[in-house]
Symmetry: C2
Subunit: 404 residues, 2 copies
């Protein structure tokens, strides 16, 4: 029986947890008084006062002005100090590496992109990731001691420790690679890794405040298709840390060949690569890397090309059918669509997915489902990766600061 099955709550743990809750509440509300914080967190005024004093002493939080008077004494407002600490997010996509430097407020301060040559070896990719990391830190001029670490978003599947990539079908020819450890050695700072859909979902959760509270599924559509699951404000990871790996479930009985070696997978119908392949199979022309060719198809659809529009709608319908099962089993009321595929045909895809969910999710009067565009655009993977570091559960440095 796993130890946590019977885990009670002891006081030292409660202290660290409460500090993280308070910091997160100050951050997400962008200016809040101690009284308001106590009300929102359910903590006593005394506990709150102690936690806030420690956060101020550590330079994470600052008093900043007063709330408007409501008759009585005006309350002192608290804010997070945005540049007290930073984190770097790196997204490894089969076509390119995107890097961002985020402040403690979750804002992108710097951005960097680098192409990945087709068929690049794991060693070459680790080198490129490390260079992107060092480049961002150097350009920022930030003291290295103020960088909490690096987050790395990758196509799944991962091993259950989150340190190794497990023969990713979208990085063909790669064996099992200890990517997080290799990068950590080169970066000289802690590296946390997650699959791109989960990382992007964490980014939405951080960026979204009330709009991304509660439970939702985030669907990342790019080179692959994956889902990030947020339940009750928490990212849900599953027993092997591969929750949301739906790219290779069967979307049709005996269908199109997939990069994973099987047939009929969801990715073989809905990824950018699949849409381009379908277009080319129908006689369409497509130039350059997949993302560029996909963009051309989206433009054609927008310009009235019926074939292009039909290919995109069919892909969205297949996705919607799988999402109907996902939404029904998880009982969530929001589906967020994001990733590079949404950039140029977002409305068309959202409308079609929404239509399929309306007809296929049972009892829509009990649980209506909204389909929403992601708040974070094409940098979703990288921003999410940086948020992995800010997510206190993941960050050894932040955990230490928070007294855990």
């Amino acid at each position: 029986m796993p130890q946590e099955f019977w885990q009670g709550t002891n006081l030292p743990k409660v202290g660290g947890f409460n500090r993280a809750v308070v910091l997160d509440a100050i951050r997400a509300n962008g200016g809040v008084s101690r009284v308001e914080l106590a009300r929102r967190t359910g903590l006593t005024a005394q506990t709150m006062s102690n936690i806030v004093r420690a956060l101020i002493a550590d330079g994470l939080v600052v008093e900043d002005g007063h709330a408007p008077s409501n008759g009585g004494k005006r309350r002192v407002m608290l804010r997070v100090v945005p540049d007290a600490y930073s984190s770097v997010g790196l997204h490894l996509d089969p076509e390119r590496i995107t890097g961002v430097l985020l402040d403690l407020d979750g804002r992108v301060r710097l951005r960097s992109r680098r192409r990945v040559p087709a068929g690049a070896s794991p060693e070459a990719v680790v080198g490129a990731l490390a260079r992107t990391f060092h480049h961002l830190v150097q350009r920022s001029g930030i003291d290295a001691g103020r960088v909490l670490g690096a987050g790395l978003a990758v196509p799944g599947p991962l091993d259950s420790t989150h340190r190794r990539l497990f023969k990713p079908p979208n990085l063909q020819g790669w064996p099992e690679v200890a990517l997080a450890d290799l990068l950590e050695e080169r970066a000289g700072l802690p590296v946390v890794m997650d699959n791109d859909a989960t990382a992007a979902a964490i980014g939405e959760r951080w960026a979204g405040g009330a709009d991304r509270a509660g439970s939702f599924v985030y669907v990342y559509i790019g080179s692959g298709v994956g889902i990030g699951v947020v339940l009750g404000d928490q990212v849900y990871r599953g027993i092997s840390n591969n929750a949301g790996e739906v790219g290779h479930v069967q979307a049709a009985g005996a269908g199109k060949p997939c990069g994973c070696g099987r047939r009929g997978c969801l990715e073989a119908y809905c990824s950018m690569r699949a849409v381009v392949a379908e277009w080319v199979a129908g006689g369409g022309s497509a130039d350059g890397p997949v993302s560029q060719a996909y963009q051309q198809i989206c433009r054609a659809a927008a310009d009235g090309d019926g074939t292009a529009a039909k290919i995109l709608r069919t892909a969205a319908s297949r996705l919607g059918q799988t999402l109907a099962t996902v939404v029904s089993v998880l009982d969530v009321d929001r589906v967020v669509l994001g990733g590079p595929a949404l950039r140029h045909a977002g409305t068309l895809i959202r409308e079609r997915v929404s239509k399929v969910l309306k007809t296929q999710v049972w009892a829509p009067h009990v649980r209506p489902v909204r389909v929403q565009p992601a708040l974070i655009g094409e940098d979703a993977g990288a921003v999410g990766a940086a948020c992995l570091v800010l997510d206190h559960a993941y960050s050894p440095r932040l955990a230490t600061l928070l007294g855990e």
Copy 2:
């Protein structure tokens, strides 16, 4: 923003939670020492000692013998007092009502069955449920004050408050019915209600100890098809309390008509009713109510009838395909199959579902999936319903006893 988003942990709440954790740990381990409890729960010896003293004073726990000596002082063992309190579980199935009386150990002390005539009105059904309840309590001879309440398992969907049934497709002609309140009035005790698959999953969780720890999905196959989701030892209910309602997701493009008025639903292929309909459509004869006819088909399959076996295998394959998506998104390693449909063709169905999951769940080396028979047999719904009451989060009386 929901209040719980920022909820910290205050001490009074921790106390009640820890009492429930300790009681549950004593119950599930069936004889355990204070030292062992402290180790398992992570609570301090002092906290544990205080909690155990209170549980003994309330008559819920008793000291019972000593652990074998390991050289030092022999440790006093603690056990739950099984008949300190009881609960009644009622399962409403389109064909019949099953009632059980459970002790605090989760053991069935009494059982009662009652047929539901086809087309029975909500009023008639409430009357039959109340009679089953009173009959069980009277037969048991237990003081009414020692009955914690009644749990009611029903076909979904439920409204989000868990008090009303929402036009269940398997109870045709029923409007929205405030079933829990109506029964509470007649029973004179608190009634908690949940859908049958979730209730059955809770029953497995209670009965299973280490075998049902962690995360699993419980698939209930009977008049309908539903899933109960257990994640990290907790039943997952979703935002509208309808998590796992997969009976009406599309199993095939444009398929068989379903009781819900649409076509191609999973239930239209996998429920007992669907299997009987397929058999009859192929010229097979089937007598009596659905459960009886289904049993005849299972017997025919066991006796070598290829048509019967094929119908059952096809139904299991469709179920397996939907489960592949469910398992992939939730990342669980166990699927438990239960409910009346498993009673006579359990092995055939399990083998087929297992085969489909092996080929359709990605990266089986990262997360192998086991398909297991349910621990609780045909009374799964009723036993689960009684466990709803024992589940401290649900039971006002038990919550009071536990000091929440």
